[in-house]
Amino acid sequence: MISRRNFLYSASGAMLAAAASPHLSWAASDSSLIVPGKEDMIVRSFRYLDLEMPLSGFSSWITPVNHFFVRNHMSGPVDFDPTEYRLTVGGEVEKPLSLTLKELESLPMHTLTNTLECAGNGRGFQQPKVFGVQWGKGAVGTGKFAGVRLADVLAKAGVKTTGKHVSFRGLDIVPGKVPPFIRSIPVQKAMHPDTLIVTHMNGAVLSNHHGYPLRVVTPGWIGAASCKWLTEISVLPKEFEGNFMKPGYRFPTKALTPGEAPKPEETIPLTALDVKSIIAGPAEGAKLRPSMNAIHGAAWAGEADIVKVEVSTDGGTTWIEAKLDPQQAKYTWRLWSYAWKPKQRGEYTLMSRATDSQGRTQGTSAKWNPSGYLYNAIDQVKVHVDA
């Protein structure tokens, strides 16, 4: 068995037929990739590892770890001794800390179910195209997390009144001249009882892919606010201003026309997720029978709750409310379904549109931004109904 300490992932070619367009034969993925602990994931990048959940993952309220998306800006730690691991807390605190894992685990444990979504999920649908991982629908998943409250750790250190933001740094291996992956959240969110430093996911110790031994879970916020391999917490008098806060992971404060660049002073750091729904089935281009078909998917809204999901089978002319699955918790997605019996053969455009408890509803297009963050346009799937 591969020990937790000495693997992140390994590579090999497993002889999968090439599937790329003949026009880009040089780009064919001529091998599938073995990533221990991950199966049937869409490989958006192998180095650094970015894996997308397949559409089948939207059939489960809790996402199994082997289907949970992975997003990395750089490699995670390769080899460390858990007994030597330290979580430090410094900056604007009365008493800087250096905690062992045992000391951390002596604090009260709490659990949280949270839908975690990469800010760039859906970027591949953005028009015009923007640089970055071309995620489809599956850079999102729902996990049951367990750990200690960040607020309890900060209380041990004693946050000074000058402490306004809390930054996180993980054990990522920083390549070249790339800035380290450090981001901050406001102290109010850090002190919220639902914001955790987790050690467990879905009832098991965190896997390396998801930040073993410690990761932050900042519920309802973009995935980048949930630092993996957490080793350093700093309480700051103001927002951290490194690359992954500025210019990275920012959103325009004013509506832009597609392709337009915002003024830097008219952007703010990304925080909570927007309202969103996706159709997981039928798949794009599916050939269906004119019998009963299930249109199904998931909907989520960050810190807000999903109020309703509507489905259109006529390209958005009429909308019908879908059935929401009873499984729900704050910060989690709702699975939904709609039983559809097409009246006649032909081409259909299926759509889904979610509304949340803050009154937000998905629009026909996402709010344009040059990094393709928070893509949440009404989802569309074209299908063919035949005899």
Binding site: N6, L8, S10, G13, W26, D30, K38, V43, F46, P175
Partner: protein, 124 residues
Amino acid sequence: MWMRSQNVVRIFSVTALASMFITATAILPNHVRAVGPNLPEGSMKAKAVTECMECHDAHIIVQQRMSKAAWVKEVEKMTRWGATVAPEDKDALVDYFSSNLPVDAPAYEPAETAKVSKSPVKKK
């Protein structure tokens, strides 16, 4: 070098690969860093392999569909982050990417990870 590595990888049987996976260590070893898609042919391919694949594999590159102006910004960003691109190579490198991966190129079809549970995994 990467071509040789790719050929070595290709001749493994699935069983041998499973064995390799069992014994492999954490970081992606340099000698298999090019597993997956290739970069397009062209006079700047060698430069792209040397500078981009020092950190990345080709997946993240070949999925992009961008204008020349966007490729300029990306090459400049990666140069700031450690890639070595001489001023006289910059335009050619941008042309290489923007001509092979333009906005209207056919969509890239990504690979999937294997079903590990079906591999003949043995305990070490």
